[in-house]
Amino acid sequence: MTELRNVIVFTVGAARYAVELRWVREVVSLGFVTNVPTAPTALGGVCNLHGAILPVLDVSVLLDGVPGLAARQGDGALVIEAEGLVCALRVDQVDHVASLYETAGAVTDATGRPLILLDPARLIRRALELVTALAEHPA
């Protein structure tokens, strides 16, 4: 059993996720979300974060291919930095910072409830793949 320290636990729809704190730059409330026509659904839009353009990603699409709720102004989001780029993940609720336990590949919190541990680098690579694929073979 491995213990993972400093993990942020959050929910998107019915799913509970966790991400290690070292990837998380900020927890923010999103500003106006600008829709990006022709972009894949994984890209929920773009926001202004301290004067820079922040892409907002949909975790549900990236992991399960099922679109979650559209990102809107005032929604909570985790600002993630990985693979040399910064993006936001829309979340419904940020629960807490906690320690998790990994036993034989399954991740649970202290109470034994299972969680999905996100790999932000993989998530971002997947988003890049989707955007590139769409750009090369427009629908």
């Binding site: 500003g31 106006f32 600008t34 829709n35 990006v36 026509p37 022709t38 972009a39 890209l43 773009v46 926001c47 202004n48 301290h50 004067g51 820079a52 353009i53 892409p55 040399g84 780029l85 910064v86 993006c87 971002i124 988003a127 890049l128 955007v131 590139t132 769409l134 750009a135 090369e136 073979h137 427009p138």
Partner: protein
């Protein structure tokens, strides 16, 4: 006084006077700054000397360009300043205001430099100056002599025309020339984005090549292959391996070069920006003047303190900062500063101070406007937010002081209930935030009850400013670099072409590409031109031309070729900037570079511009819808003759035609098209209800791709398009 006595021809003189005007404006600015540095207190001896020196130089320059009235006036101003220097007792509380008035009058006089001098205006200023020095009645005395430069005899037109010693080798450049360079540098940014995309494509290609090689390798390893075939395969694999390696090396090198290009573009932009830099001084001088006017208007006594006058700004940015600063000063005078009695009761000095601080830190320019007034009552503000319905009571309960202060910037609400003419009921604060956001910066407010309020504006040091045409689709605002916008027009419903200044241009339905626009309405449109190709883009609403700050989209969005970048609106919303090159490419699929950026389209045309020729309107509509949903831009013609006419103006990537039509039949149309070089190999699909063997033979001879029997279904059409 006539100009005939001067050594310059009319043109040269006009230019010289233009130069003099900008020099004189700077000189008057310096004098004003010196004058106002001490509030209404008497300037120091050193300040007076400086003011006299500058006025003296102004006098000399005015003589050189033959502006004798100006020589006279600056001489009088110099004399008045000298008198004040000798007789400090002559300085009165109103003297500073009077001097400012005279300087303003001189400045006004300068605006008419190229016109015949108005003696009435000169006489008016003369009276004002004399009034200043009147207490000691020595206005007409000669100014004291300076060691450097030696005093020149004044009011002597003959010697006035002599050349002035050049103090410094200044280069005077028209601002427009620099602006042109700036916008070219901005264009370079777009160019770089495009090159970057191509390189990304090469990378993909290298990856594919490696994959092909792997497939080949597996074929070689396959034991079932015959020996001679295998040796050929091995050879091919080696060649492929070499090529793949070369391609990926080249791509990597190209990426390095783009990085170098990026740095160079950055340097060019910074260099150009530096040319346009000016110190915060003129901004602060302006602030001092504003405050003086406010003082006179309200009777509120405030002193201005400025820190960091040497901080440099982009002139374009500085111009935009005048309004926010004015607004904040008004706000401070109207809301921030307490009456003297109240100040005294709190143990504060009776005269309030407003401080403007400018400084650079790391990558930004920071400008602070603070007052030492009563501070913002966050409780009262919170109550007003609830009372005006902007906040719910629950939200107000949860908010801390910082949240409440931030709301002040968002909603522009005033703490004082009643309307206030001076500060515009706090509406102005919202405008401050908008202006700063437009420049790519942000505003923060902090306040300590009883101690004062500080507004901090943080701006990017270098701003890639560009002119853009803004428009709306589905309520969202987009931008197109204005340099590529030729015109605006209106497009009829369903039109696939529009005539602009006698040219028939293709229509790109941006309202449908970016939103859910219906083709049934007449739409406003923007005429875009790029690399010699033009098109008309329909939108929902044209907002107009604006100056925007270009922000990069970042690596995640870079593959979306439709966008060249983004900008942030005054209210902090992201607005996407469309790439004109891509728009043109969508309407003119044969534009240069089309094949490279879309490798899949090379062997078989997947989409482009299609011409549908049929005498039945229903079939035309049906085909338009089917092809449209496959991404084709569709033009229609009701017979062969009309189709021929259209092909003369536009190139098509696909022609779909009926056979039996009035005027000119399908086979005749195809035969004529094949004689035109542009349509020699264009895919042609025939739709007909009579597909006899004879028809098939004729079609084959004309190089027709497929014959589709009516009734046409989507599937039949797609199969025909995919046929080789």
């Amino acid at each position: 006084m006539s100009d005939g006595e001067l050594d310059f021809d009319a043109e040269e003189l006009a230019m010289l006077r233009q130069l003099f005007r900008s020099e004189a404006q700077d000189a008057l600015e310096t004098v004003t700054a010196r004058l106002l540095a001490g509030g209404s207190a008497k300037p120091s001896a050193e300040a007076l000397t400086e003011m006299m020196r500058v006025t003296h130089t102004l006098k000399g320059a005015a003589g050189t360009v033959g502006l004798h009235a100006m020589v006279d006036l600056s001489h009088r101003l110099e004399s008045a300043l000298a008198a004040l220097g000798r007789e400090p007792s002559a300085w009165q509380a109103v003297t500073a205001d009077r001097l400012v008035e005279v300087i303003d009058a001189l400045r006004g006089y300068l605006d008419h430099v190229n016109e015949p001098s108005s003696d009435a205006a000169a006489a008016e200023i003369r009276t004002q100056i004399d009034h200043i020095a009147r207490p000691n009645r020595r206005a007409q005395t000669e100014p004291p002599t300076f060691v450097e430069p030696p005093p020149e005899p004044v009011l002597d037109s003959a010697s006035d025309t002599g050349p002035l010693p050049e103090p410094k080798a200044w280069l005077h450049v028209e601002p427009e020339r620099i602006d042109t360079l700036m916008s070219s540098a901005g264009e370079l940014l777009f160019d770089r984005t495009r090159i970057e995309r191509r390189v990304q494509l090469l990378r993909t290609l290298a990856r594919d090549l490696a994959r092909t090689r792997q497939t080949l390798h597996e074929a070689i390893v396959d034991e079932s292959a015959t020996r001679p075939a295998r040796s050929l395969l091995v050879e091919a694999e080696n060649a492929l391996a070499g090529q793949a390696a070369l391609l990926s090396q080249t791509t990597a090198a190209l990426l390095d070069e783009i990085e170098a290009l990026r740095r160079t573009i950055g340097e060019v932009q910074r260099g150009l920006t530096r040319i346009r830099m000016e110190s915060a001084k003129s901004l602060m001088t302006h602030a001092a003047r504003t405050l003086r006017a406010l003082r006179r208007a309200t009777g509120v006594t405030v002193e201005l303190r400025t820190v960091g006058e040497a901080t440099e700004f982009d002139k374009a940015v500085a111009e935009h900062l005048v309004d926010p600063i004015t607004q904040l000063l008004r706000n401070a005078v109207a809301h921030g500063v307490e009456p003297p009695e109240e100040r005294a009761a709190h143990g504060k000095p009776p005269v309030a101070t407003i401080t403007i601080r400018a400084r650079q830190d790391a990558n930004s320019l920071v400008l602070e406007v603070s007052d030492d007034g009563r501070g913002i009552d966050t409780a009262a503000l919170s109550e007003r937010l609830v009372a005006t319905g902007r906040w719910s009571a629950a939200r107000a309960r949860l908010a801390n002081d910082a949240d409440v202060l931030a709301a002040l910037l968002d909603t522009g609400i005033s703490v004082r209930g009643e309307a206030d003419e001076l500060a515009g009921r706090g509406v102005g604060i919202g405008l401050v935030r908008q202006t700063i956001a437009k420049l790519g910066g942000e505003v923060k407010v902090s306040s300590t009850p009883g101690k004062g309020t500080t507004f901090t504006m943080r701006l990017p040091l270098s701003t890639a400013l560009a002119q853009a045409m803004l428009f709306k689709v589905d309520g969202q605002v987009y931008a197109i670099p204005n340099i590529h916008v030729v015109d605006t027009t209106l497009v009829e419903p369903h039109a696939t072409t529009a005539t602009v200044r006698h040219d028939v241009l293709p229509v790109l339905r941006l309202d449908q590409l970016l939103g859910h626009g219906a083709a049934t309405e007449k739409k406003p449109a923007i005429v875009v031109s790029f690399a010699g190709k033009s098109l008309v883009c329909t939108v929902d609403k044209i907002v107009g031309a604006r100056e925007i700050v270009i922000k990069p989209l970042g690596p995640l969005l870079a593959p979306l070729t439709l966008y060249a970048g983004a900008t942030i609106s005054g209210s902090g919303k992201v607005q996407l900037i469309l790439d004109p090159a891509q728009l043109v490419r969508r309407a003119h699929p044969d534009a240069p570079g089309a094949a490279l950026s879309d490798p899949v389209s090379a062997p078989m045309v997947l989409a482009g511009r299609a011409l549908v020729v049929d005498d039945s309107r229903a079939i035309r509509e049906a085909m338009t819808s089917m092809l449209g949903s496959e991404g084709w831009i569709v033009d229609v013609a009701e017979d062969g003759a009309r189709a021929l006419q259209m092909t003369r103006q536009l190139r098509y990537d696909l022609v779909v035609t009926d056979l039996e039509m009035p005027a000119l039949g399908g086979f005749e149309l195809i035969a004529r098209l094949r004689k035109d070089d542009r349509f020699r190999t264009t895919p042609v699909v025939i739709i007909t209800s009579r597909a006899s063997p004879e028809h098939r033979r004729r079609a084959r001879d004309l190089g027709v791709r497929a014959l589709v029997a009516k009734p046409i279904t989507r599937r039949k059409l797609l199969e025909a398009l995919a046929a080789r």
